[in-house]
């Protein structure tokens, strides 16, 4: 039975759709209203309030905390400033990705890591022999994501003690709301201007209430994880168990991925000190990766034609689909070259887009491929072009 999050009294009061999802054992609203449109546009047009409490959270402290984190993740912790946040994968010793998440450097030897899966044992094992503590603080922190162009204006009214004009992208600050402490990170899963807010569970409801109260004038809306899923694809952000499989869950070797194969090569620092997976990743760099991450844009005119063949309008707007579809070499349906793992109509771009993994060298930007689409139960192929991600990248995200 999924458990309520610290915001449940508030989320359940407004979840008209009763469309709850089980997110890591917690009740998480899929959508609040009966259709996702307004919640999606809250992310892009005003402000969306998303309960992300089910994330796993760990704190690493002690004299060797930095050394431990540096051993776990692929990015270089020696270059991470206090108050800076890394988005990073971490790997097993074969260089295959276990999970991805954010690492906040709260102090020289004090880190907070978020992840999608339980990682306490992994962090403990990696830290064997190091003088550092790993504490699972998942239940000690309630988390809200406030995303959208009005998120900053709302926080400026609600949170004191933080200079939001100078809180940079992927940095954090500590402040107060009505005297209780809050940590604000400028992070999110939408590719928009946005923040994530971390408080002790006993303050959760007060935080929610203040945000709704001050956010109303900014057209704030609670948003579920279904609209967020569309936004994260537009942002080109991957999801574990959908766009890649954790090497700890994979049942066959080919299900595993290296960071280079899921678009996280930029987050590997080859010249940093030793870390788990380093040698395997060095080898992979030498011989090249088998797979690569891609964003594709479907050819709209063809998509329209494929629907017209069945006398239908191109009815594609809806939720993001997490059902992977096969991709073929352009014009050669016998040559399967990979899969699109999440695809969605992008309401802001008015295009049908997807992310996935293809065999190299089919991953080149501008390359044309054929993606399977199903219209009236019939399998058809739609041409698509490999395009750079993020698909949608507004200047306000980092401004």
């Amino acid at each position: 039975m999924p458990l309520p999050t610290p915001f449940h009294t508030r989320t359940s009061a407004v979840c008209e759709s009763y469309e709850w999802r089980n997110w890591s054992g917690y009740l998480s609203a899929g959508i609040y209203e009966m259709s996702h449109d307004r919640e999606y546009y809250a992310i892009r047009n005003s402000a969306a309030l998303i309960d992300v409490s089910p994330l796993y959270k760990y704190e690493i402290t002690g004299p060797d905390a930095a050394r431990l984190v540096d051993r776990v993740i692929t990015r270089d912790v020696t270059r991470q400033k206090i108050g800076q946040i890394y988005y990073t994968p971490w790997c097993d010793s074969d260089g295959k990705v276990i999970d991805d998440g954010t690492v906040s450097r709260l102090d020289t030897n004090h880190f907070r890591i978020t992840s999608a899966d339980p990682n306490w044992r992994w962090f403990k094992d990696v830290g064997y022999g190091l003088n550092a503590d790993v504490v699972n603080v998942s239940d000690d922190l309630a988390a809200l994501s406030l995303q959208g162009p009005r998120s900053r204006a709302i926080l400026q009214e609600v949170v004191s003690g933080i200079d939001f004009a100078n809180l940079k992208y992927f940095h954090l600050a500590h402040g107060q709301v009505e005297g209780f402490p809050i940590t604000v990170t400028r992070t999110g899963y939408t590719g928009d201007l946005g923040y994530e807010l971390w408080v002790r569970p006993e303050y959760a409801e007060r935080l929610w209430d203040r945000l709704i109260e001050h956010g109303t004038g900014h057209d704030i809306l609670p948003a579920g994880i279904i609209p967020m899923d569309i936004a994260r694809v537009e942002a080109g952000l991957i999801m574990i168990a959908v766009d890649y499989i954790s090497s700890q869950h994979a049942v066959i070797e080919s299900q595993k991925s290296s960071p280079y194969e899921i678009g996280l090569g930029w987050a590997v620092s080859p010249r940093k000190g030793d870390f788990i997976g380093r040698r395997a990743l060095a080898k992979e760099r030498e011989r090249g990766s088998l797979w690569g991450f891609v964003g594709v844009q479907y050819d709209w005119a063809t998509l329209e034609r494929l629907f017209a063949e069945e006398d239908l309008p191109p009815h594609v707007a809806g939720r993001a689909s997490r059902s992977a579809v096969p991709v073929y070499e352009a014009g050669n349906s016998s040559h399967h070259i990979g899969q699109i793992t999440t695809h969605t109509f992008s309401p802001v771009l008015k295009q049908y887009i997807g992310i996935g993994t293809l065999l190299n060298p089919h991953t080149q930007i501008g390359n044309r491929v054929d993606v399977e689409v199903t219209v009236e139960f019939k399998r058809k192929r739609c041409p698509a072009t490999i395009v750079p991600t993020p698909f949608f990248d507004p200047p306000r995200k980092k401004a």
């Binding site: 008209e16 209203e33 449109d37 307004r38 004038g217 309008p313 594609v316 707007a317 008015k350």
Partner: protein
């Protein structure tokens, strides 16, 4: 200033901007000339009262053609159409309401409170309208073939069209025939019996027309408003971020990205014609600008009777355009509000205030509103389509404050007792606020500023003849190969190099962009 171009577009409204973008995209050095200080025409957003942005004339989008969105890559230039999915109709006394939104079963339950029969018929009606929208969607993208000529191109066009309509089954063809001829009220009464639903659905049939819901021909206008399509969903309505002026800005950026130049404060007084061929324009300040292609996005009367000398045109065209029905019937009231108004029938904030509020409690009220107009008076109890843009887009008003947009019918261009005066305009504004008060009892206490626009004001500001929001009635007699005049419906004019690209051409008004696109594509074909 360079005064030689390949193409000049007169008027920087949405159709003019679309036309310019297509001309520039085809490599033409294109200039848009707009008489006002900003582009948009009737699609403008202005800060009439400090901090409050009014989407002054037009206010919602639905009909805008998806092919234009993609061909001009409008999302890259800021296109953002926000969902507007609900309609709330307060009853006459304001104490009850009919509410329809994306919650399908709840909507059916809401309808059933007024009539179980109507609730059961609702899906069937929607299905028929889907077929109709799908059928006429084809017409939106084509240059209308003329059935009276034996020109092979027209014949082919007619055959194509016939083939298209023969795809409909018999039932659907009957419904289409009815839509083309019936009144909106009679049409919806085939399915429904409850007043708020009948009145609200029929109201789509009178928008912008000088007709009542029981006037034959209004069913077509209803269909015209169903042809809208957002993301493949027919009849979806939306609000462009920043109001319809936001859409105009998007179109201006798209046109400029293609290389078009836009000049504001540059009204055109005449099109220069020599030997039956247009070669440029004269601005109101006397400047001459030359180009072998001149497109007018203005209404037909401006295009044919003002911008050129009628003696340069054949008599049949001059006569037809003079008779083209353009009498404006719609007014607009924009309000700046100190706080969110409260509905008597459903107090408190909520998403029902982020949709349309239709002041259409029953058919008689709307028909009586038309009766007033028929005899030259503004409606004492007008029909209104109301939205609160600041509930959809926070940029429209300061936090906690709101703007309200009221589309109002009827406000006839010509009054029986003489010209519109400031007193009459304010009396009209009072009538509007009085109707609002039946639903929002607190409305009078929270109005910070009121902007009242009659068709005369619409004409004065935008230049549209008689303030007709569609540039001319959407009667069957003024549609398709008859828009704006028989024999002149293909964007061309008898003057070589002079083209039409405004809402007075096929497929007509509403923020559709199709006339701009089709007019530009026709001009690019040249050949005369």
């Amino acid at each position: 200033m360079n005064n030689q171009y390949d193409a000049i577009v007169i008027g920087g409204g949405h159709n003019g901007l679309v036309a310019a973008a297509y001309l520039a995209r085809a490599g033409k050095k294109t200039l848009v000339l707009e008489k006002r200080y900003l582009v948009g025409g009737a699609s403008v957003t202005e800060e009439i009262f400090p901090g409050f942005k009014f989407t002054v004339f037009s206010y919602v989008v639905s009909l805008f053609r998806p092919e234009i969105i993609r061909e001009l890559n409008l999302p890259a230039h800021g296109l953002t159409i926000l969902p507007l999915e609900s309609t709330l109709t307060p009853t006459l006394d304001g104490r009850d309401y009919l509410y329809r939104d994306g919650d399908h079963y709840q909507t059916l339950r809401n309808i059933a409170r007024f009539s179980q029969r109507d609730a059961d018929a609702y899906d069937e009606y929607a299905r028929y309208m889907y077929f109709m929208a799908k059928a006429v969607r084809y017409i939106m993208g084509i240059i209308p073939p003329d059935p009276t000529t034996f020109n092979p191109k027209d014949m082919m066009g007619l055959v194509d069209m016939a083939r298209h309509f023969l795809n409909l089954d018999q039932d659907q063809l009957y419904v289409l025939a009815k839509l083309m001829t019936m009144s909106a009220a009679d049409f919806v009464e085939q399915w429904f019996e409850s007043e708020p639903l009948k009145a609200t659905l029929s109201a789509s049939g009178i928008i912008g027309t000088f007709l009542g819901p029981r006037s034959p021909g209004t069913a077509y206008v209803l269909l015209h408003h169903y042809m809208g399509e957002i993301d493949g969903a027919y009849r979806a309505w939306g609000f462009h971020k920043g109001g319809t002026g936001g859409l105009a800005q998007t179109l201006a950026r798209a046109a400029e990205a293609q290389g078009a130049e836009i000049r504001c404060n540059a009204g055109v007084s005449k099109v220069l014609v020599k030997n039956g061929r247009a070669y440029g324009v004269v601005l109101e300040n006397g400047d001459e600008i030359h180009a072998p292609l001149v497109l007018s996005s203005l209404d037909p009367k401006q295009t044919f009777l003002n911008l050129v000398e009628p003696n340069q045109l054949p008599d049949d065209l001059v006569g037809a355009v003079r008779r083209f029905q353009t009498l404006g019937s719609s007014g607009k009231v924009n309000l700046a509000l100190d706080r969110l108004p409260e509905l008597a029938c459903r107090p408190g904030p909520g998403r029902h205030l982020a949709g349309a509020i239709s002041m259409s409690p029953n058919l008689d009220i709307i028909e009586q509103a038309y009766d007033d107009a028929k005899y030259g008076n503004f409606s004492r109890r007008p029909y209104m389509d109301v939205i609160i843009p600041s509930m959809i887009d926070p940029d429209m008003a300061p936090p906690g404050k709101h703007v309200m947009s009221c589309f109002v019918q009827y406000a006839p261009y010509k009054l029986a007792d003489g010209e519109w005066t400031d007193e009459k305009r304010e009396a009209f504004g009072d009538a509007v606020v009085n109707v609002l008060e039946t639903a929002f009892p607190d409305i009078k206490d929270i109005i910070l500023h009121r902007q009242v626009l009659t068709p005369v004001d619409i004409e004065r500001t935008t230049g549209i003849t008689q303030g007709n929001i569609f540039h001319g009635e959407l009667n069957l007699s003024q549609l398709f190969f008859l828009r704006p005049a028989a024999g002149y419906a293909k964007y061309r004019t008898p003057i070589k190099g002079y083209y039409q690209c405004g809402s007075g051409t096929h497929p007509g008004g509403g923020i559709m962009g199709a006339p701009g696109r089709l007019g530009a594509l026709e001009a690019l074909k040249g050949g005369h």
